[in-house]
Symmetry: C3
Subunit: 375 residues, 3 copies
């Protein structure tokens, strides 16, 4: 990525807060996040520890490195190169195409809607009655808001998002394209005792006739706090009663399913295709890795880690790390795997023991018999 | 939730069909589905058995309880409090924002479309040629119907639903936002024998050259019977030939994937992120819990339960309850788990046995040797 | 399906390249892909080996069969009946409703967009600045393209697709409804060391304070090569830097999640609800079956098969077939299952051995004691 102008690494170090080793007047004209592809004139950033082994082959004019690394190249040392990269990409990256401030003539905005300053509403956006949109928020093409939706300042709603009635969204929230907020939860009741209830009550006779699932109306809504991001085509259901809440700073990946009445903490990470059953409580900074699944009414503690593909059927404590289905502590899971691999050996040992014991029994029997005879 | 006016619990009991214990002229002015949050003037409903232990702390003026519960508070006893709650939420819940009857001026409805009485078509809805929409059906903003789609009476299609050509939808069907009906199934054929076919035929030599997957046209369509609900961003593929059918009263949760040619029974429950391979047959009232996966061409019997995250690779019988991957009967799965936990003990026992048997062998050998010597 | 006119099977054999056995002047007037439902006048196709057992009951006037099958009916023998069926369905299937060539008056196409010949743009389509659309490509209702998107010739974009800035799409690509291309990847960094980093560094003290996840801008984009198909509501994230690439001829099913920077080979099959972590490399013709999950930074070799629901945490070699979580070779997985089933027997054998060894010890001890006494 071209820098806006040629700069010395001394100037850049001042801007990003780093320490120069080597000639501070080394000039660079572009920034490279791929050290191996960097060439003369580039400032290459080593943003992951495992990239450091590429250092000897690098042809960049200068490098950004974490403290504690050695090189002969002119270098800017920083504490967290990935943070530098994050800032540089934000400044230097190619421009994205957002709607201009104002309301696109094809957008359909109910007259009762309150729009903040410098709001940008793209083409074919629909905003229902009594919504409020905060300052500088951008709503991209084809996104649809129901009635009484409230959205804070500086939000970015990508195209094709669907946000149902009464949803409350904070500031600086990003919704990726196709995200669905506030769909009805999955809650039904049958007029007569259902076969599922019969089984739970220990009744063996099931009934083979219609017993319709009656929809329980969802009178609650979704609250998304500040700085949340929701991935593409993810779904967050509204609450049956009360709220489904996503805490500030939590990041939700694509195709995640968050059911009704969940209470998700702050700065949690919920990774792709994870599904959380109704009424769960997820602690701050908990990490639910990809394709994890949680039964309803569970609690996951602060800083807990639910590994990818884990099936959780019990509460998870603070800081606990679990994996497997049903979820068990990481260590137990791997102990279990190790024992599983020992099974063929265990089985042959049992066979061998059986044989030896038979031989022993035979020998002992003959010894006893002899003795008996000897008497 | 405020009642429309102050009422006596005697009057309410008459309306909902309950039995009053305590003063029938007790007056209430609002309805609370959260007993612990209820205050004077509230009628609180205990709709789940586990809420009953909160009963002593409740400050409501009266309570709705299941038969067989005791309290000093004025109470209305009913058989199924959750059914009462379901009705009350429907009557008292805040209004949702649906399009008004008629066709919004920005909707694009082909002139050949037949609209029933009191149909409500929201903004930016697209309805293709020769569609038929039944009486009182509501189609919300941005939902798109292809050609020859037929939709029954009293349906509610939330915003952003996508319904492809020839789909047939019954009465009182609800599609949550972003639901996708009638996308093409995943069916391909290669002109030459594929490497997969080679392997199945026991041919070890694979071919490292292009052998394109040719798309098999999908000439079938989707049939959704009465009273079905489909969750947000769920997908139901059309049939290759014939129909993909969802039986009456079946409820499908968010992000579920139903592949081509499935035949789903009546009043089944298919929970979030479950995926069903092509051409499966699912029985009435079967329950497929969250993130379950079914291989194609399988049958699941009536009233069977496939637990969450189960991977099904064989037919499942009526009333069978299965879990695990590959799916096995619930009981076997838990027996298996119990044995897995015994493995460390089994392994040490084998070691101890080995040692004891060696000692026995040694002792016996020395005994035999002594005897030999003695001769 | 009615043929356009009555034809002899001799003429049809000439058209599709087959060999007639029986009277070549047998006349048929329709084509049936369901042999058991076929009646007189039908030409029935047996496109799957397992259908062949239905052959004796078939009432069709003629049949299409794979070489090596016997019948008394007039027959056309072909090498791959499924390929014949694929072609026949394409020619005879009911018409689908595509937009007419030209730009629908309600579409919003930026003046800078370059449209090829015979492009068809449906209602309410949005095309952002500087896009290029190739000849004969069809873009259906409500699909939204950001800026600088390039789409090749003969593509079909179903309704409601969302294609973000800079996406590059080849020729003959099909996107099913609701497919999302180019959403931002899931990449964050924290200003201070995160609790996750602390744990990895072996630091036991975690910090219970805010440490926000800063979004790493995604300056890369998505490249989809020729002949790719993407399923309904599937999501493909753009690259952080560089490209997320889907190789020519690869087919992606519904609700699949492909994270940032993936490099997917040619003619791969990625089946429903599979999720691939960031920066993976997937070989040509690899098959990832339904609900499989891959950790980030993995490599899957050519012609490898990852079975349904597999959780992959290591690289997979060429032609390897893996299953289970964590993924292991198919054979080992089934050996493991077999041993698991032996556990109850192994456990009773250990118990029996314990008893026998105790008895042996007792007998031997008494023998020794006797001997001692005898001295």
């Amino acid at each position: 990525m071209k820098l806006p102008m040629e700069m010395t690494i001394g100037d850049i170090a001042n801007l990003i807060g780093g320490r120069v080793v080597g000639p501070a007047d080394t000039k660079v004209s572009s920034f490279s996040p791929s050290p191996l592809a960097a060439k003369e004139g580039d400032l290459a950033v080593f943003f992951e520890a495992k990239m450091l082994k590429q250092l000897p082959q690098v042809k960049a004019s200068a490098v950004i490195l974490p403290e504690g690394t050695e090189t002969d190249l002119p270098a800017i040392y920083v504490e967290r190169p990935l943070v530098v990269m994050q800032k540089m990409l934000g400044v230097l990256g190619p421009k994205r195409f957002y709607p201009a401030a104002g309301v696109h003539p094809t957008a359909i905005v109910d007259p009762s809607v309150k729009l903040g300053k410098d709001v940008a509403i793209g083409p074919l956006v629909v905003i229902g009655p009594n919504c409020e949109i905060g300052d500088k928020t951008k709503i991209m093409a084809g996104t649809i808001l129901g009635g009484k939706v409230k959205i804070g300042n500086d939000c970015l709603l990508h195209p094709g998002c669907l946000i149902a009635d009464y949803s409350q969204i904070g500031n600086r929230v990003i919704l990726q394209q196709g995200a669905s907020i506030g769909s009805d939860g999955y809650s039904y009741v049958t007029q007569k005792m259902s076969n599922m209830e019969r089984r739970l009550a220990g009744i063996r006779e099931l009934v083979d006739e219609s017993n319709p699932h009656l929809k329980i109306p969802n009178i609650g809504y979704v609250v998304i706090e500040d700085d949340v991001e929701v991935g593409s085509n993810a779904t967050i259901d509204r609450a049956t009663v009360g709220t489904t809440k996503i805490g500030a700073g939590t990041k939700i990946d694509n195709l995640v399913m968050i059911a009704h009445n969940n209470q998700i903490g702050r700065e949690a990470l919920i990774i792709a295709q994870t599904g959380i059953g109704g009424s769960c409580v997820i602690g701050d900074r908990a990490i639910l890795a990809g394709q994890a699944g949680l039964k309803d009414h569970l609690t996951v503690g602060k800083d807990a880690i639910v590994e990818a593909k884990t099936g959780v059927m019990r509460d998870i404590g603070e800081r606990e790390i679990v994996t497997g289905t049903p979820a068990e502590p990481m260590r137990e899971f791997f102990t279990g795997l190790a024992y599983k691999r020992k099974l063929p050996k265990m089985n042959s040992e049992i066979k061998a023991l059986n044989k030896k014991v038979e031989e022993l029994e035979a020998k002992l029997a003959s010894l006893m018999a002899e003795k008996q005879l000897a008497k």
